[in-house]
């Protein structure tokens, strides 16, 4: 076998899904990183508990903070989901280290792109707030076609133009990890902007919104990452990546639509005009389901290629 590995410059010894790999990266491509899934599931659980605790504190103690303190508290809250996930990820990843700078870098890149590109497009150019909520139908369609397409398209671009061609992207599961990181970057940017714009948040309700946004965007990022991971290691048809972005955009639009309609509650309910917990539950279920499905699919794929003709290594 002459030619070089798809990932590094070493000579290729094996081909999988039409691509050539060196021995090391062939092994890598077949590895199943448990850490990613555990970090996701662990984070989801921790964050839900975190919200519950804050909500309880807010309800029982009713801390009387206001003004600047409220904003500072909100900003700290906005960072929590990313910190929790990154911490989890690194704990799990000790045995099979991913370059930390790379994951952090992708996270920061997501934060930057969301702030400098996505928000100006959606709030400025397209001015979503002025028309998106005109009717439920417009909200749903616009949520997918405009908000979803812009946000998920930009997540794809961020990943595709940065880490995708890097030698550090050397396992299928890496796609999901980097995707999650970029999604968290987006969520953190959105949450910070939200806190600043609102001039602070009430601890309980604010925490729900922040965690919800993070779980959702991390999940959508994960979906894109999964499609990218498959594309990197297997020859995929031309519709593969558009389908991935479309799926993420659809999930994005439908989720936020459901969150703000189903979870909205009604004016006449004297107890809760909004059911914030319904939204949080929705986000947790979504994030959990996406984690399980993506890792499940990846494992199946890895096992299939592993079980298959060990290679047509040939030559």
């Amino acid at each position: 076998m002459s030619g070089t590995c798809r990932i590094c410059d070493d000579p290729a010894t094996r081909t999988v899904g039409g691509y050539a790999f060196c021995e090391r990266h062939y092994e890598r491509s077949r590895r199943m990183r448990r850490g990613a899934r555990d970090a996701d599931v662990g984070s989801i659980a921790i964050l839900v508990v975190f919200v519950a605790v804050l909500y309880a504190i807010d309800a029982v103690v009713q801390p009387s903070i206001g003004g600047q303190a409220l904003t500072v508290a909100g900003l700290i809250l906005a960072l929590v989901p990313a910190i929790v996930w990154l911490a989890f990820f690194y704990r799990q990843d000790r045995l099979e280290p991913e370059p930390r700078t790379m994951v952090i870098g992708v996270f920061l890149l997501g934060l930057l792109v969301a702030t400098a590109v996505a928000s100006p497009i959606l709030d400025g150019l397209v001015d979503v707030g002025s028309w998106l909520f005109a009717s439920p139908l417009v909200h749903l369609a616009g949520g997918v076609l405009v908000v979803g397409a812009v946000q998920e398209g930009l997540k794809y671009l961020t990943l595709r133009l940065s880490v995708y061609d890097s030698p550090e992207f050397d396992e299928r599961t890496d796609g999901i990890i980097y995707g999650t990181a970029v999604g968290l970057g987006f969520a953190t940017a959105l949450n910070v902007a939200f806190v600043v714009e609102a001039g602070g948040v009430d601890l309980g309700t604010g925490a729900i919104r922040i965690v919800l946004t993070s779980l959702a965007h991390a999940s959508f990022g994960g979906v894109i990452g999964y499609f990218l991971g498959r594309q990197k290691f297997e020859a995929r048809p031309i519709w593969w990546m558009p389908a991935g972005v479309a799926l993420a955009a659809a999930l994005n639009g439908v989720f936020f639509f459901l969150r703000s309609t189903v979870a909205r509650g009604t004016i006449d309910d004297p107890l809760a005009t909004v059911a914030p917990w319904v939204g949080l539950a929705l986000a947790a279920v979504l994030a959990g389901a996406i984690t399980v499905v993506l890792t499940g699919l990846t494992r199946r794929e890895v096992e299939r290629t592993a079980a298959g003709p060990a290679t047509e290594a040939a030559s």
């Binding site: 005109a134 948040v201 009604t266």
Partner: protein
């Protein structure tokens, strides 16, 4: 495998990846395009309005106010009342001309004095469609009494209205919005402004209002409208050229006349000159001389009765539409456009007898005058009286020959009729009876009405006056009390509600900062439905005190229910007062509703959110998608603490409710039944932003 095939393989892979990349970009672009199409559909929904002679398209669901002062049209977004369109006119002084740039300079000087923090950002020539304009962008701070101050950006386009006489009148089309909303408001406003510029100067087709069903008839005749009287001179031509004009309204499916006046036929094809207080009592500027602050009610239709025989009452034959009105001069030109069944008439087919228009300038004291009309005294037939020019009367704004005084017998029904010289030419319009002028009656000389008649002949819709009084920018209003009489100032009878069968309810208001002759607009709701909306002009001496009243009246008793009056005034025609009362206790009594609207994600109050209470049976979300004024039972905006209070609701009723705020998903539900006569509280309403 050779190196070259491998390289080709690698190139092929690169090409595949580029294709995939391009496919994603294409997908996102197509999706965005579809989304923006959706957006333009949402934002493109418009209501066609016709106010102050302006026909235009405003965004669907916006509130449109009638003309007041120099504002011909005011429209605002009920969800964001700081987002508004305005159309105003700047008139050249009589005998002079005016360029858009001069008009801008004049108006901006006034604005600078009226508005806080006024600063011009940019100005210069521009264009709207094919019409050249002078454009100005400025900012100011809106400082409502007791409210939070809001910065406002404004964009104004000045252009000649292009009508008969160039450089006579400049139209100003303006957009006002909070700075963060102005860019998104631009596309809709640009469409609005361009359409207006395109239309300007083009004679408007005489589209009749809704046809009146043929079974409608004039069921009763109300009182004649107050005005003048004269001695004889008389030619059959003058009599034949005079018409009686009934002001009608359809009540309970039956058309009724609630007043009448007279008119003079100007052209064979049905152009008629009359008083504004007959044809359009709400015309801005009308009423500056009125001691009696009875509110003006515009007739829903005008019925023209023709003299067929001098010894018989005139025969209602045609229906007419106002083409041009000048409230300050109290004159209007109307056009016959339908028969009694509401079918359109071809103007050329009419061939009516006309009265030639003469000149009032040569008139001298002692000249003979003939007055023809329907005074309503001595029977309801056409009457002629003769007299002399007794003198002239001046006016601060018009000059020395504002009125011709006469001793001819002029009574209320003569209003709008004919005053002729010895040659049998129309030289004036009998406008005011002896009561106001110390035994003389007042005739408006025809010289002052030349522009109006020309506008009418050209078919140019115009409700405007060159003599309007600008607002002061310092207007304040508050409810002094509800009362049943317009006679006592301050009101002596002070009530909070009215018994069943009340014929008149009056809001007596404390005021400050108004000028004599300044216009304001009031709007009345009965159980949420708008029943009456008009512009009015304040009488002389209002600066010195006195009362501002606003009233609704019906001579057979007003319906039971909850009445709310909203009063708008000032340079931007902002709401200054909202107050409510009730008539009758059996039909349920008034109630109001308070609550708080907050951001459900942050817990913070939302200022400027709006709670709409809709008429029972309305689906709030469907209503939100296509708002309809008629289905609002009441609404209120939140203050900076997120608190709102909706007035004018009915106790015992459950209302579909909708809470909306810019950038938030609307929340809906049903609230009620509301408590008797009390302010009910609704639990706080949380709104969520979808997280884009």
């Amino acid at each position: 495998m050779t190196a070259s095939t491998l390289r080709r393989g690698s190139l092929a892979r690169q090409r595949d990846e580029m294709r995939s990349f391009a496919a994603v970009i294409l997908l996102v672009a197509v999706s965005l395009g579809a989304g923006l199409l959706l957006r333009s559909n949402v934002e493109g929904a418009v209501d066609r309005v016709d106010a102050g002679g302006i026909q235009a398209a405003v965004p669907a669901g916006w509130v449109v106010l009638p003309p007041a002062g120099d504002r011909l049209l005011t429209a605002y977004d009920p969800v964001d009342p700081d987002l508004r369109y305005g159309v105003s006119a700047v008139d050249a002084a009589p005998g002079t001309t005016l360029t858009p740039e001069d008009a801008a300079a004049r108006r901006l000087r006034d604005r600078g004095q009226l508005l806080d923090g006024f600063a011009i950002v940019a100005e210069g020539p521009g264009a709207l469609g094919g019409v050249s304009t002078y454009d100005v962008r400025y900012t100011f701070v809106d400082q409502p009494p007791g409210g939070a101050s809001t910065p406002i950006d404004a964009i104004e386009h000045y252009f000649d209205d292009g009508a008969l006489f160039p450089a006579e009148r400049v139209l100003v089309v303006a957009l006002e919005a909070p700075p963060e909303a102005i860019d998104s408001a631009r596309p809709g406003f640009d469409r609005f402004a361009r359409e207006l510029a395109d239309r300007s100067g083009a004679p408007v087709a005489f589209a009749p209002p809704e046809a009146v069903p043929s079974d409608a008839r004039i069921a009763s005749i109300g009182r004649p409208v107050a005005a003048p009287e004269t001695p004889p001179a008389a030619t059959a031509d003058l009599v034949a050229g005079t018409v009686q004009i009934f002001m009608t309204a359809t009540i309970g499916g039956q058309e009724q006349a609630f007043g009448w006046g007279s008119g003079t036929i100007l052209s064979k094809d049905g152009l008629i000159l009359t008083n504004a207080h007959v044809a359009m009592p709400s015309a801005p500027g009308l009423g500056v001389y009125e001691a009696d602050p009875t509110p003006a009610v515009d007739p829903q239709d005008l019925v023209v009765a023709i003299v067929t025989s001098e010894d018989q009452p005139a025969v209602p034959t045609y229906r007419a539409t106002v083409i041009a009105a000048d409230g300050y001069l109290d004159a209007a030109v109307i056009r016959i456009d339908r028969d009694m069944d509401g079918r359109r008439i071809t103007p050329a087919s009419l061939d009516l007898p006309t009265v030639p228009v003469g000149s009032s300038d040569p008139l001298r004291v002692g000249d003979a005058l003939t007055v023809v009309g329907f005074p309503g005294i001595g029977g309801n037939t056409v009457s002629l009286s003769s007299g002399r020019v007794s003198g002239f009367l001046g006016d601060d704004r018009i000059g020395p020959r504002a009125w011709v005084k006469t001793d001819a017998v002029v009574s209320s029904g003569n209003s709008g009729g004919l005053a002729a010289n010895e040659a049998g030419e129309l030289v004036g319009v009998p406008t005011r009876g002896p009561r106001d002028a110390g035994g003389y009656s007042l005739i408006r000389p025809i010289a002052l009405l030349a522009g109006l008649i020309d506008a009418g002949r050209a078919g140019r819709r115009s409700v405007d006056s060159a003599y309007l009084v600008p607002s002061t920018g310092r207007e304040r209003l508050s409810l002094d009390t509800w009362t049943d009489s317009l006679d006592a100032c301050p009101a002596t009878t002070r009530v909070t509600s009215f018994p069943a069968g009340a014929r008149q309810i009056v809001a007596a208001m404390d005021h400050a900062g108004f000028a004599s002759g300044e216009d304001f607009v009031s709007q009345w709701r009965l159980d949420g439905e708008i029943v009456y909306r008009s512009g009015r002009t304040l009488s002389q001496g209002i600066e010195q005190g006195g009362c501002i009243f606003d009233a609704v009246y019906h001579d057979r008793g007003l319906p039971n229910g909850t009445y709310v009056v909203e009063v708008y005034a000032g340079p931007r025609l902002k709401p200054l007062l909202t107050a409510q009362t009730t008539i009758g206790s059996t039909g349920g009594s008034g109630a109001s509703l308070s609550g708080r609207i907050y951001d459900a994600d942050s817990g913070r109050p939302i200022a400027g959110a709006v709670m709409f209470m809709l008429t029972p049976g309305t689906d709030p979300l469907a209503w939100h998608a296509s708002p309809n004024q008629a289905q609002i039972a009441g609404y209120a905006q939140t203050d900076s603490t997120g608190i709102f209070t909706v007035l004018g609701l009915q106790a015992g009723t459950s209302y579909p409710a909708l809470a909306v705020a810019e950038g938030y998903v609307a929340a809906s539900g049903t609230i009620g039944p509301l408590g008797e006569g009390q302010n009910s509280l609704v639990s706080p309403v949380g709104l969520v932003k979808a997280a884009p």
